[in-house]
Protein backbone atom coordinates (compact mmCIF):
# COMPACT_ATOMS: atom_id res chain seq x y z
CA UNK A 1 0.00 0.00 0.00
CA UNK A 2 1.39 3.40 -0.98
CA UNK A 3 2.40 5.83 1.73
CA UNK A 4 0.25 8.93 1.58
CA UNK A 5 1.53 10.87 4.54
CA UNK A 6 4.84 10.42 6.25
CA UNK A 7 6.19 12.16 9.33
CA UNK A 8 9.89 11.55 9.86
CA UNK A 9 11.61 12.47 13.14
CA UNK A 10 9.32 15.43 13.66
CA UNK A 11 9.97 17.51 16.77
CA UNK A 12 8.01 20.56 17.83
CA UNK A 13 9.28 22.67 20.71
CA UNK A 14 7.85 25.73 22.38
CA UNK A 15 10.63 27.43 24.32
CA UNK A 16 11.76 24.68 26.68
CA UNK A 17 8.61 22.55 26.30
CA UNK A 18 8.77 19.71 23.78
CA UNK A 19 5.27 19.08 22.44
CA UNK A 20 6.31 16.46 19.88
CA UNK A 21 9.47 14.47 20.38
CA UNK A 22 11.03 12.84 17.34
CA UNK A 23 7.72 11.57 16.00
CA UNK A 24 7.68 9.25 12.99
CA UNK A 25 4.50 7.71 11.59
CA UNK A 26 2.78 7.03 8.29
CA UNK A 27 -0.71 7.04 6.86
CA UNK A 28 -1.18 4.64 3.97
CA UNK A 29 -3.58 5.14 1.07
CA UNK A 30 -7.12 3.88 1.60
CA UNK A 31 -6.84 3.53 5.39
CA UNK A 32 -8.79 5.06 8.26
CA UNK A 33 -6.29 5.87 10.97
CA UNK A 34 -7.24 6.78 14.52
CA UNK A 35 -4.84 9.16 16.24
CA UNK A 36 -5.56 8.46 19.87
CA UNK A 37 -4.22 9.93 23.05
CA UNK A 38 -5.08 11.87 26.18
CA UNK A 39 -5.61 15.65 26.24
CA UNK A 40 -2.38 17.48 25.46
CA UNK A 41 -0.70 14.36 24.07
CA UNK A 42 0.16 16.10 20.78
CA UNK A 43 -2.69 14.93 18.48
CA UNK A 44 -3.76 18.42 17.40
CA UNK A 45 -0.11 19.47 17.01
CA UNK A 46 0.44 16.65 14.49
CA UNK A 47 -2.68 17.65 12.57
CA UNK A 48 -1.69 21.32 12.55
CA UNK A 49 1.82 20.45 11.35
CA UNK A 50 0.37 18.38 8.49
CA UNK A 51 -1.80 21.35 7.53
CA UNK A 52 0.99 23.95 7.58
CA UNK A 53 -0.47 25.76 10.60
CA UNK A 54 2.66 25.04 12.61
CA UNK A 55 6.29 24.92 11.57
CA UNK A 56 8.24 21.92 12.86
CA UNK A 57 11.36 22.60 14.93
CA UNK A 58 13.03 19.69 13.14
CA UNK A 59 12.14 16.69 10.99
CA UNK A 60 10.16 16.43 7.79
CA UNK A 61 6.57 15.96 6.71
CA UNK A 62 5.94 14.50 3.28
CA UNK A 63 2.67 14.09 1.46
CA UNK A 64 2.94 11.71 -1.50
CA UNK A 65 6.71 12.01 -1.11
CA UNK A 66 6.77 15.79 -1.36
CA UNK A 67 6.83 18.69 1.08
CA UNK A 68 3.55 20.35 2.05
CA UNK A 69 2.66 22.80 -0.74
CA UNK A 70 -0.44 24.38 -2.33
CA UNK A 71 -0.75 21.19 -4.40
CA UNK A 72 -0.86 18.97 -1.31
CA UNK A 73 -3.31 21.35 0.40
CA UNK A 74 -5.63 20.74 -2.53
CA UNK A 75 -5.50 17.03 -1.75
CA UNK A 76 -5.87 17.35 2.04
CA UNK A 77 -9.23 18.21 3.55
CA UNK A 78 -8.87 19.39 7.14
CA UNK A 79 -11.46 19.73 9.87
CA UNK A 80 -9.92 21.60 12.81
CA UNK A 81 -11.26 21.39 16.36
CA UNK A 82 -12.40 25.01 16.24
CA UNK A 83 -14.71 27.11 14.10
CA UNK A 84 -12.73 29.13 11.62
CA UNK A 85 -15.21 30.63 9.16
CA UNK A 86 -16.06 34.34 9.25
CA UNK A 87 -19.16 34.47 11.44
CA UNK A 88 -20.82 36.96 9.10
CA UNK A 89 -20.89 34.26 6.41
CA UNK A 90 -23.80 31.95 5.65
CA UNK A 91 -23.28 28.28 4.68
CA UNK A 92 -24.10 29.37 1.11
CA UNK A 93 -21.29 31.94 1.21
CA UNK A 94 -18.94 29.24 2.49
CA UNK A 95 -19.98 26.94 -0.37
CA UNK A 96 -19.18 29.72 -2.88
CA UNK A 97 -15.79 30.26 -1.23
CA UNK A 98 -14.95 26.53 -1.29
CA UNK A 99 -16.14 26.24 -4.91
CA UNK A 100 -13.85 29.13 -5.84
CA UNK A 101 -10.76 27.75 -4.14
CA UNK A 102 -11.12 23.97 -4.40
CA UNK A 103 -11.78 22.46 -7.84
CA UNK A 104 -12.52 19.15 -6.03
CA UNK A 105 -15.37 20.64 -4.00
CA UNK A 106 -18.85 19.29 -4.75
CA UNK A 107 -21.31 22.13 -4.06
CA UNK A 108 -24.42 20.02 -4.76
CA UNK A 109 -23.32 17.41 -2.25
CA UNK A 110 -22.69 20.12 0.36
CA UNK A 111 -26.16 21.60 -0.12
CA UNK A 112 -27.71 18.12 0.10
CA UNK A 113 -25.85 17.44 3.35
CA UNK A 114 -26.91 20.82 4.78
CA UNK A 115 -30.48 19.80 4.08
CA UNK A 116 -30.01 16.36 5.71
CA UNK A 117 -28.59 18.00 8.82
CA UNK A 118 -31.39 20.61 8.97
CA UNK A 119 -28.96 23.47 8.40
CA UNK A 120 -30.35 26.61 6.81
CA UNK A 121 -27.87 27.56 4.05
CA UNK A 122 -28.96 31.20 4.30
CA UNK A 123 -28.58 31.58 8.07
CA UNK A 124 -25.56 33.54 9.27
CA UNK A 125 -23.02 31.43 11.19
CA UNK A 126 -23.12 34.06 13.96
CA UNK A 127 -26.76 33.08 14.54
CA UNK A 128 -25.96 29.34 14.72
CA UNK A 129 -24.96 27.34 17.77
CA UNK A 130 -21.37 26.03 18.04
CA UNK A 131 -22.58 22.52 17.21
CA UNK A 132 -24.34 23.74 14.08
CA UNK A 133 -21.25 25.67 12.99
CA UNK A 134 -19.18 22.51 13.44
CA UNK A 135 -21.65 20.58 11.28
CA UNK A 136 -21.33 23.24 8.56
CA UNK A 137 -17.55 22.82 8.62
CA UNK A 138 -17.83 19.03 8.58
CA UNK A 139 -20.09 19.20 5.52
CA UNK A 140 -17.61 21.49 3.74
CA UNK A 141 -14.74 19.11 4.53
CA UNK A 142 -16.44 15.90 3.44
CA UNK A 143 -17.80 17.53 0.27
CA UNK A 144 -14.28 17.74 -1.10
CA UNK A 145 -12.91 14.83 -3.14
CA UNK A 146 -9.59 14.77 -1.29
CA UNK A 147 -6.90 12.11 -0.91
CA UNK A 148 -6.53 12.64 2.83
CA UNK A 149 -9.12 13.80 5.34
CA UNK A 150 -7.65 15.11 8.55
CA UNK A 151 -10.39 15.27 11.15
CA UNK A 152 -9.61 16.71 14.56
CA UNK A 153 -12.32 15.71 17.06
CA UNK A 154 -15.11 15.59 14.45
CA UNK A 155 -17.57 14.23 17.01
CA UNK A 156 -16.63 16.57 19.84
CA UNK A 157 -19.39 19.14 19.49
CA UNK A 158 -21.93 16.87 17.83
CA UNK A 159 -24.88 15.53 19.81
CA UNK A 160 -25.00 11.70 20.21
CA UNK A 161 -28.07 11.47 17.95
CA UNK A 162 -26.15 13.02 15.05
CA UNK A 163 -22.86 11.14 15.63
CA UNK A 164 -23.97 8.09 13.64
CA UNK A 165 -25.02 10.28 10.74
CA UNK A 166 -21.70 12.12 10.88
CA UNK A 167 -19.76 8.85 10.88
CA UNK A 168 -21.82 7.51 8.01
CA UNK A 169 -21.27 10.79 6.17
CA UNK A 170 -17.52 10.55 6.65
CA UNK A 171 -17.44 6.94 5.44
CA UNK A 172 -19.84 7.43 2.57
CA UNK A 173 -18.19 10.46 1.11
CA UNK A 174 -14.63 9.52 0.51
CA UNK A 175 -13.33 7.36 -2.29
CA UNK A 176 -11.49 4.03 -1.94
CA UNK A 177 -8.00 5.42 -2.36
CA UNK A 178 -8.58 8.19 0.16
CA UNK A 179 -7.39 8.01 3.74
CA UNK A 180 -8.71 9.47 6.96
CA UNK A 181 -6.63 10.57 9.92
CA UNK A 182 -9.05 11.02 12.76
CA UNK A 183 -8.50 12.10 16.34
CA UNK A 184 -11.14 11.71 19.03
CA UNK A 185 -11.74 10.98 22.66
CA UNK A 186 -14.93 9.08 21.85
CA UNK A 187 -13.17 5.93 20.70
CA UNK A 188 -16.12 3.58 21.15
CA UNK A 189 -18.02 5.47 18.44
CA UNK A 190 -15.28 5.24 15.81
CA UNK A 191 -13.79 1.89 16.88
CA UNK A 192 -15.67 -0.04 14.20
CA UNK A 193 -14.41 2.10 11.32
CA UNK A 194 -10.71 2.19 12.21
CA UNK A 195 -8.16 0.31 10.09
CA UNK A 196 -5.07 1.47 11.94
CA UNK A 197 -4.41 3.17 15.24
CA UNK A 198 -1.65 5.42 16.50
CA UNK A 199 -1.38 5.92 20.25
CA UNK A 200 0.38 9.09 21.29
CA UNK A 201 1.41 10.13 24.78
CA UNK A 202 3.44 13.11 25.96
CA UNK A 203 4.51 13.94 22.42
CA UNK A 204 5.75 10.44 21.58
CA UNK A 205 4.24 7.67 19.47
CA UNK A 206 3.87 4.72 21.78
CA UNK A 207 1.98 2.37 19.49
CA UNK A 208 1.28 2.17 15.75
CA UNK A 209 -0.46 -0.89 14.37
CA UNK A 210 -3.44 -2.26 12.52
CA UNK A 211 -6.65 -2.15 14.60
CA UNK A 212 -7.49 -5.81 13.82
CA UNK A 213 -4.02 -7.04 14.82
CA UNK A 214 -4.27 -5.17 18.12
CA UNK A 215 -7.72 -6.54 18.87
CA UNK A 216 -6.57 -10.13 18.13
CA UNK A 217 -3.33 -9.78 20.06
CA UNK A 218 -4.93 -8.24 23.17
CA UNK A 219 -8.35 -9.90 22.83
CA UNK A 220 -9.82 -6.51 23.68
CA UNK A 221 -11.45 -3.66 21.85
CA UNK A 222 -9.39 -0.60 20.91
CA UNK A 223 -11.39 1.36 23.47
CA UNK A 224 -10.35 -1.10 26.21
CA UNK A 225 -6.72 -1.10 25.07
CA UNK A 226 -6.79 2.70 25.12
CA UNK A 227 -8.27 2.77 28.64
CA UNK A 228 -5.68 0.29 29.90
CA UNK A 229 -2.79 2.10 28.25
CA UNK A 230 -3.79 5.51 29.53
CA UNK A 231 -5.21 4.49 32.88
CA UNK A 232 -4.76 7.21 35.49
CA UNK A 233 -3.06 5.66 38.52
CA UNK A 234 -4.07 7.15 41.86
Amino acid sequence: MAELLCLKNVTKKYKSKTVLDNVSCTVKAGRIVGLLGRNGAGKTTIMKLVNDLLTPTSGEIKFKGKNISPKSKLAISYLPERTYLDRQMTPNDAVKLFTDFYPNFDADKALRLFNDLDLDPNQKLAKMSKGMQEKVQLVLVVSRKADLYVLDEPLGGVDPATRDYVLKTILKNFHDEASVLISTHIISDIEKILDDVIFIDQGKIILEDSADKLRKKNKKSIDEIFRNTFKVER
Partner: protein, 263 residues
Protein backbone atom coordinates in the same frame (compact mmCIF):
# COMPACT_ATOMS: atom_id res chain seq x y z
CA UNK B 1 -5.68 32.49 -6.82
CA UNK B 2 -4.37 35.94 -5.81
CA UNK B 3 -7.44 37.67 -7.24
CA UNK B 4 -9.70 35.31 -5.25
CA UNK B 5 -7.90 36.11 -2.00
CA UNK B 6 -8.20 39.83 -2.75
CA UNK B 7 -11.91 39.43 -3.59
CA UNK B 8 -12.83 37.56 -0.39
CA UNK B 9 -10.63 39.67 1.86
CA UNK B 10 -11.96 42.92 0.42
CA UNK B 11 -15.54 41.68 0.73
CA UNK B 12 -15.05 40.55 4.32
CA UNK B 13 -13.39 43.81 5.43
CA UNK B 14 -15.79 46.13 3.58
CA UNK B 15 -18.73 44.37 5.30
CA UNK B 16 -17.24 45.25 8.68
CA UNK B 17 -16.38 48.86 7.80
CA UNK B 18 -19.33 49.86 5.60
CA UNK B 19 -21.53 50.86 8.56
CA UNK B 20 -19.00 53.63 9.39
CA UNK B 21 -19.16 54.87 5.79
CA UNK B 22 -22.97 55.03 5.97
CA UNK B 23 -22.82 57.01 9.23
CA UNK B 24 -20.23 59.44 7.77
CA UNK B 25 -22.38 59.98 4.65
CA UNK B 26 -25.59 60.37 6.69
CA UNK B 27 -24.05 63.11 8.83
CA UNK B 28 -22.53 64.76 5.75
CA UNK B 29 -25.91 64.91 4.00
CA UNK B 30 -27.63 66.07 7.20
CA UNK B 31 -25.03 68.88 7.54
CA UNK B 32 -25.55 69.95 3.93
CA UNK B 33 -29.34 69.94 4.43
CA UNK B 34 -29.13 71.83 7.74
CA UNK B 35 -27.62 74.74 5.82
CA UNK B 36 -30.94 75.08 3.96
CA UNK B 37 -32.73 75.90 7.23
CA UNK B 38 -33.58 79.57 7.88
CA UNK B 39 -30.70 81.20 9.74
CA UNK B 40 -31.20 81.07 13.50
CA UNK B 41 -29.19 80.24 16.61
CA UNK B 42 -30.62 76.71 16.49
CA UNK B 43 -29.68 76.13 12.83
CA UNK B 44 -26.14 77.46 13.41
CA UNK B 45 -25.64 75.18 16.46
CA UNK B 46 -27.19 72.20 14.60
CA UNK B 47 -24.99 72.75 11.56
CA UNK B 48 -21.85 73.07 13.74
CA UNK B 49 -22.66 69.90 15.68
CA UNK B 50 -23.40 67.94 12.49
CA UNK B 51 -20.30 69.17 10.65
CA UNK B 52 -18.15 68.42 13.72
CA UNK B 53 -19.56 64.89 13.86
CA UNK B 54 -18.99 64.41 10.11
CA UNK B 55 -15.38 65.57 10.40
CA UNK B 56 -14.71 63.23 13.33
CA UNK B 57 -16.40 60.30 11.55
CA UNK B 58 -14.66 61.10 8.25
CA UNK B 59 -11.28 61.20 9.97
CA UNK B 60 -12.14 58.17 12.14
CA UNK B 61 -13.23 56.07 9.15
CA UNK B 62 -10.55 57.64 6.99
CA UNK B 63 -7.53 56.58 8.95
CA UNK B 64 -7.91 55.29 12.48
CA UNK B 65 -10.86 52.92 12.14
CA UNK B 66 -9.78 51.54 8.75
CA UNK B 67 -6.15 51.06 9.83
CA UNK B 68 -7.12 49.33 13.08
CA UNK B 69 -9.60 47.06 11.32
CA UNK B 70 -7.07 46.21 8.62
CA UNK B 71 -4.54 45.17 11.28
CA UNK B 72 -7.17 43.18 13.22
CA UNK B 73 -8.28 41.46 10.03
CA UNK B 74 -4.68 40.62 9.13
CA UNK B 75 -4.01 39.23 12.61
CA UNK B 76 -7.22 37.24 12.70
CA UNK B 77 -6.89 35.74 9.22
CA UNK B 78 -3.17 34.95 9.41
CA UNK B 79 -2.74 34.03 13.09
CA UNK B 80 -6.24 33.83 14.60
CA UNK B 81 -9.13 31.40 14.13
CA UNK B 82 -9.60 32.30 10.45
CA UNK B 83 -5.97 31.26 9.86
CA UNK B 84 -7.25 27.66 9.92
CA UNK B 85 -8.90 28.45 6.61
CA UNK B 86 -6.27 30.85 5.22
CA UNK B 87 -3.30 28.48 5.55
CA UNK B 88 -5.16 25.41 4.32
CA UNK B 89 -6.25 27.05 1.06
CA UNK B 90 -4.28 25.76 -1.94
CA UNK B 91 -2.28 28.98 -2.23
CA UNK B 92 1.28 30.00 -1.47
CA UNK B 93 2.22 32.14 1.54
CA UNK B 94 3.33 34.83 -0.94
CA UNK B 95 -0.17 34.88 -2.46
CA UNK B 96 -1.67 35.12 1.03
CA UNK B 97 0.63 38.02 1.97
CA UNK B 98 0.21 40.03 -1.21
CA UNK B 99 -3.51 39.27 -1.32
CA UNK B 100 -3.82 40.87 2.13
CA UNK B 101 -1.56 43.77 1.09
CA UNK B 102 -3.59 44.55 -2.03
CA UNK B 103 -7.03 44.16 -0.41
CA UNK B 104 -5.94 46.31 2.55
CA UNK B 105 -4.59 48.97 0.19
CA UNK B 106 -7.90 49.00 -1.68
CA UNK B 107 -9.89 49.24 1.57
CA UNK B 108 -7.69 52.11 2.75
CA UNK B 109 -8.17 53.93 -0.58
CA UNK B 110 -11.95 53.45 -0.33
CA UNK B 111 -11.84 54.75 3.27
CA UNK B 112 -9.90 57.84 2.20
CA UNK B 113 -12.27 58.42 -0.75
CA UNK B 114 -15.28 58.09 1.57
CA UNK B 115 -13.75 60.55 4.03
CA UNK B 116 -12.97 63.11 1.35
CA UNK B 117 -16.40 62.70 -0.25
CA UNK B 118 -18.13 63.07 3.13
CA UNK B 119 -16.21 66.28 3.79
CA UNK B 120 -17.04 67.55 0.30
CA UNK B 121 -20.77 66.85 0.81
CA UNK B 122 -20.60 68.55 4.22
CA UNK B 123 -19.23 71.77 2.80
CA UNK B 124 -20.74 71.79 -0.70
CA UNK B 125 -22.36 75.17 -1.41
CA UNK B 126 -20.73 76.78 1.62
CA UNK B 127 -17.90 79.31 1.53
CA UNK B 128 -15.53 76.79 3.17
CA UNK B 129 -14.77 75.11 -0.17
CA UNK B 130 -14.14 78.51 -1.82
CA UNK B 131 -11.74 79.40 0.99
CA UNK B 132 -9.93 76.05 0.60
CA UNK B 133 -9.38 76.71 -3.11
CA UNK B 134 -8.26 80.30 -2.42
CA UNK B 135 -5.74 79.07 0.15
CA UNK B 136 -4.53 76.46 -2.34
CA UNK B 137 -3.94 79.23 -4.91
CA UNK B 138 -1.94 81.24 -2.38
CA UNK B 139 0.27 78.24 -1.63
CA UNK B 140 0.62 77.38 -5.33
CA UNK B 141 1.87 80.93 -6.03
CA UNK B 142 4.21 80.73 -3.07
CA UNK B 143 5.70 77.44 -4.24
CA UNK B 144 5.73 78.50 -7.89
CA UNK B 145 3.86 75.40 -9.09
CA UNK B 146 0.25 74.73 -10.08
CA UNK B 147 -2.27 74.10 -7.29
CA UNK B 148 -3.06 70.60 -8.59
CA UNK B 149 0.61 69.61 -8.73
CA UNK B 150 0.99 70.78 -5.14
CA UNK B 151 -2.05 68.72 -4.09
CA UNK B 152 -0.74 65.73 -6.04
CA UNK B 153 2.76 65.82 -4.49
CA UNK B 154 1.54 66.12 -0.91
CA UNK B 155 -1.34 63.65 -1.41
CA UNK B 156 1.09 61.03 -2.73
CA UNK B 157 3.40 61.72 0.22
CA UNK B 158 0.57 61.33 2.77
CA UNK B 159 -0.77 58.21 1.00
CA UNK B 160 2.66 56.57 1.00
CA UNK B 161 3.12 57.42 4.68
CA UNK B 162 -0.31 55.84 5.37
CA UNK B 163 0.56 52.65 3.45
CA UNK B 164 3.94 52.57 5.15
CA UNK B 165 2.23 52.66 8.58
CA UNK B 166 -0.15 49.90 7.45
CA UNK B 167 2.64 47.60 6.22
CA UNK B 168 4.74 48.34 9.32
CA UNK B 169 1.76 46.94 11.24
CA UNK B 170 1.75 43.77 9.09
CA UNK B 171 5.47 43.16 9.60
CA UNK B 172 5.11 43.90 13.32
CA UNK B 173 2.27 41.36 13.59
CA UNK B 174 4.21 38.66 11.68
CA UNK B 175 7.39 39.14 13.73
CA UNK B 176 5.44 39.60 16.99
CA UNK B 177 3.67 36.28 16.38
CA UNK B 178 6.94 34.46 15.90
CA UNK B 179 7.41 34.82 19.66
CA UNK B 180 5.68 32.37 21.97
CA UNK B 181 4.32 34.73 24.62
CA UNK B 182 2.80 38.25 24.78
CA UNK B 183 2.29 38.23 21.03
CA UNK B 184 0.06 41.37 20.81
CA UNK B 185 2.45 43.44 22.97
CA UNK B 186 5.50 42.20 21.07
CA UNK B 187 3.74 42.92 17.75
CA UNK B 188 3.16 46.49 18.94
CA UNK B 189 6.73 47.01 20.19
CA UNK B 190 8.27 45.50 17.06
CA UNK B 191 5.91 47.56 14.85
CA UNK B 192 6.77 50.76 16.69
CA UNK B 193 10.50 50.07 16.38
CA UNK B 194 10.17 49.38 12.65
CA UNK B 195 8.08 52.55 12.25
CA UNK B 196 10.83 54.66 13.87
CA UNK B 197 13.26 52.99 11.45
CA UNK B 198 11.13 53.90 8.44
CA UNK B 199 10.87 57.53 9.59
CA UNK B 200 14.65 57.75 9.99
CA UNK B 201 15.06 56.29 6.49
CA UNK B 202 12.59 58.82 5.06
CA UNK B 203 14.45 61.73 6.74
CA UNK B 204 17.80 60.39 5.50
CA UNK B 205 16.37 60.32 1.97
CA UNK B 206 15.26 63.92 2.38
CA UNK B 207 18.72 64.94 3.59
CA UNK B 208 20.13 63.13 0.54
CA UNK B 209 18.40 65.88 -1.47
CA UNK B 210 21.07 68.23 -0.05
CA UNK B 211 23.54 66.80 -2.58
CA UNK B 212 21.45 68.29 -5.37
CA UNK B 213 20.41 71.50 -3.62
CA UNK B 214 22.56 73.00 -0.85
CA UNK B 215 19.63 75.14 0.32
CA UNK B 216 18.26 71.96 1.95
CA UNK B 217 20.65 72.33 4.87
CA UNK B 218 19.87 76.05 5.19
CA UNK B 219 16.31 75.32 6.32
CA UNK B 220 17.76 73.93 9.57
CA UNK B 221 19.71 77.11 10.35
CA UNK B 222 17.73 79.90 8.68
CA UNK B 223 14.28 81.40 9.25
CA UNK B 224 13.98 82.11 5.54
CA UNK B 225 11.34 80.25 3.53
CA UNK B 226 12.65 78.09 0.70
CA UNK B 227 9.62 76.89 -1.34
CA UNK B 228 11.74 74.99 -3.90
CA UNK B 229 13.44 73.11 -1.03
CA UNK B 230 10.09 72.05 0.44
CA UNK B 231 9.02 70.61 -2.93
CA UNK B 232 12.38 68.88 -3.36
CA UNK B 233 12.14 67.40 0.15
CA UNK B 234 8.63 66.16 -0.59
CA UNK B 235 9.82 64.48 -3.80
CA UNK B 236 12.76 62.82 -2.02
CA UNK B 237 10.40 61.91 0.83
CA UNK B 238 8.25 60.09 -1.75
CA UNK B 239 11.32 58.13 -2.89
CA UNK B 240 12.13 57.38 0.74
CA UNK B 241 8.66 55.99 1.41
CA UNK B 242 8.68 53.94 -1.81
CA UNK B 243 11.97 52.34 -0.72
CA UNK B 244 10.55 51.80 2.81
CA UNK B 245 7.43 50.11 1.41
CA UNK B 246 9.47 47.85 -0.90
CA UNK B 247 11.65 46.77 2.05
CA UNK B 248 8.62 46.25 4.32
CA UNK B 249 6.83 44.10 1.73
CA UNK B 250 9.96 42.08 0.99
CA UNK B 251 10.61 41.43 4.70
CA UNK B 252 6.93 40.72 5.46
CA UNK B 253 6.70 38.16 2.67
CA UNK B 254 9.99 36.52 3.70
CA UNK B 255 8.92 36.37 7.36
CA UNK B 256 5.56 34.79 6.50
CA UNK B 257 7.23 32.26 4.18
CA UNK B 258 9.50 31.23 7.05
CA UNK B 259 6.40 29.56 8.52
CA UNK B 260 3.67 30.32 11.01
CA UNK B 261 2.64 28.97 14.38
CA UNK B 262 -1.11 29.38 14.66
CA UNK B 263 -2.45 28.89 18.18
Amino acid sequence: MLNKIIKYDFKSMSKKISSFYIIAFSFAIATALSRLLPESTFSIILSSVLSGTTISFAVASLLINTAIRIWFNFRSSVFGDEAYLTHTLPVTKTEIFFGKVISSTLIMLVGIAVGILALFITYVGSDVLTKVFETLDIFANLFGVSGWLLVLIFSVLILLETFCVMFVGFLGIIIGHSYETNKPLKSFVVGLTIYVGTQITAVLFMLFAGIFNHDVFKIFSSTEFYPNVIILLAVFGIFGYVVNIIILLFCGNKALNAGVNVE
